[in-house]
Amino acid sequence: MSLFFRLIFLPFFLLTAGFAHAQLSIEITGAGANRIPVTIVDFPGDPAASRVITSTVRADLERSGLFKLVDHSGLALDENAPINHADWKGRGADALAAGSIARSADGRMEARFRLYDTQKGVSLGGAAYVTNATQLRAAGHRIADFIYEKLTGEKGVFSTRIAYVVKARGQFLLQIADSDGQNAATALTSTEPIISPVWSPDGGRLAYVSFEKKKPVIYVHSLASGQRHIVANFKGSNSAPGWSPDGRKLAVVLSKDGFSQLYSVNADGSGLQRITSSSGIDTEPRYSADGGTIYFTSDRGGSPQVYQIGANGGDARRVTYEGSYNVSPRPSPDGKSLAFISRREGRFQLAVMDLASRQVQVVSDSNKDESPSFAPNSRMILIATEVGGRGVLSAVSSDGRIKQRLSVAAGDVREPAWGPYFQ
């Protein structure tokens, strides 16, 4: 298979019309150089359920850019079937997953599977996932995560969710979808803009900025209940929320004392504390993975650059130097790198800094990149960008090799936020 290939996963749940269901479709535009060849055979049992699960697993692995699917020749094997390792090795598969689907007495489905290393001829383990019939794709994502972790040594992110804003027909929709763009649901509909959504570390809430009061106000919104409350609505603008890693606080930007400055506030809106005191703009705060420091954007040096400051304030240290516009800093969850948007020759591009060496690499080839967001395993970065005048999302690996594009048919997608690991 060529390095650049195209695959469009058609919406699975596109049963009802209407843009409230504006479904993301995913296109892969770049893949890793050394992809692991793997076979996912069909699972005996309920054929429809088997198809949902195995196609989800195959699509996940292929989309990651790290795996090459080896044809399974329509073969179905359960998790206890003997495996002819030499044969599969001969067909080019380094690994093989087999499994079965069974319906339990209470009507739920149980997916069992086992993963094999055909090179060594050994089992790499397996698991059983129980789910109700409408959540089969979730079981597929869990299996794909298991395979991904066993074969790459990193945790998979197929079971995670993403949030983003769709602008369509004069409305702004804050949507939540599975990491493959499926199963989209609208958490908030507004005629006024919604920006800067960020997931709470427990994955149950989003903080965001809504303009429904004719000014930017910060909300925290519980997804399951739909309940939301105002965290910051001070005189002036309230924006750019960033969760502390323990989920107790938010770093926010308020203009109540003049220009935009950093503050921290408890998630219930109490305990406001000022963090920065500069004579210019300080914005876009993001806690470091250990919670000890905050990365932010400031024009204190004359142009917008990334700085770092203690979580309770103190002296700020400049982090970016190349160029005259470096904004939207996002430290990776593993603490090793920093993603940000850098303007170079008029193009706004995603850049990644290795925090140990301070080396910076531009990793996107688009030119209107915004709002980067790391996957919880730090491997991929989701950004908003523009293709053909339309807002789309793009997922780029932190080394720039793997690229996927997510778009909706009738509207602009923007302001992506990758959620935490499945809990």
């Binding site: 009061k213 924006s239 750019a240 876009e284």
Partner: protein
């Protein structure tokens, strides 16, 4: 009992599946409802809007200077230009004479660059207009300066003509009885 069950059901839906058999969860959850929420654990919410009306004619009559509410800025500039001296003075005079009225100053930017950084730049424009008004005697309590950043472009285009229209601060009024534009 039923009340207690609902959050538990939602939590179960959100979790979806687990490695070992789950505790008893929702049987027969709908695959897809019109609101699209039940299979995903996301409840849909619609944000409310605000009315605007009921201001004196001198603020809205196109023949009145006070109906001019927009102040445009140069690229990368956050200073109120001399061209707008009379306009700002007319609004200052009205606000000094009508202390029950309040204004919301909304700063705006063009679309290029970070949304949040642009929000902070729009704030600088709103602050510049606020400073001009307070220097002319308007009470701070009558003014709130906020930013819409690049989010509410007056001109949705993507060229310099559109951008120059969007580098702007707008003045919105509210009367003492609470009626008005914000």
């Amino acid at each position: 009992m039923k009340k207690l069950l609902i959050p538990a059901l939602l939590a179960a839906l959100l979790v979806g599946c687990s490695t070992t058999p789950l505790p008893e969860d929702s049987n027969g959850a709908p695959v897809e409802s019109r609101s699209g929420s039940s299979s995903t654990g996301v409840a849909p919410v619609t944000a409310g809007g605000l009315d605007s009306s009921g201001l004196p004619r001198e603020l809205t009559d196109p023949k009145s200077k006070l109906s001019q509410r927009s102040i445009y800025f140069d690229l990368d500039s956050y200073e109120v230009k001399g061209d707008y001296k009379d306009l700002v003075a007319a609004h200052a005079k009205y606000l000094v004479a009508n202390k029950g009225f309040k204004v919301l100053l909304q700063g705006n930017t063009d679309e290029r660059g970070s949304r949040e950084y642009n929000l902070a730049l729009g704030q600088k424009r709103a602050e510049a207009v606020k400073r001009s008004l307070t220097l002319l005697g308007v009470s701070e309590g009558q003014i709130e300066s906020v930013s819409l950043g690049e989010e509410k472009p007056k001109n949705p285009g993507h060229d310099e003509a559109a951008w120059s229209e969007n580098r702007r601060a707008d003045i919105l009024y509210k009367a003492a009885d609470g009626r008005g534009e914000f």
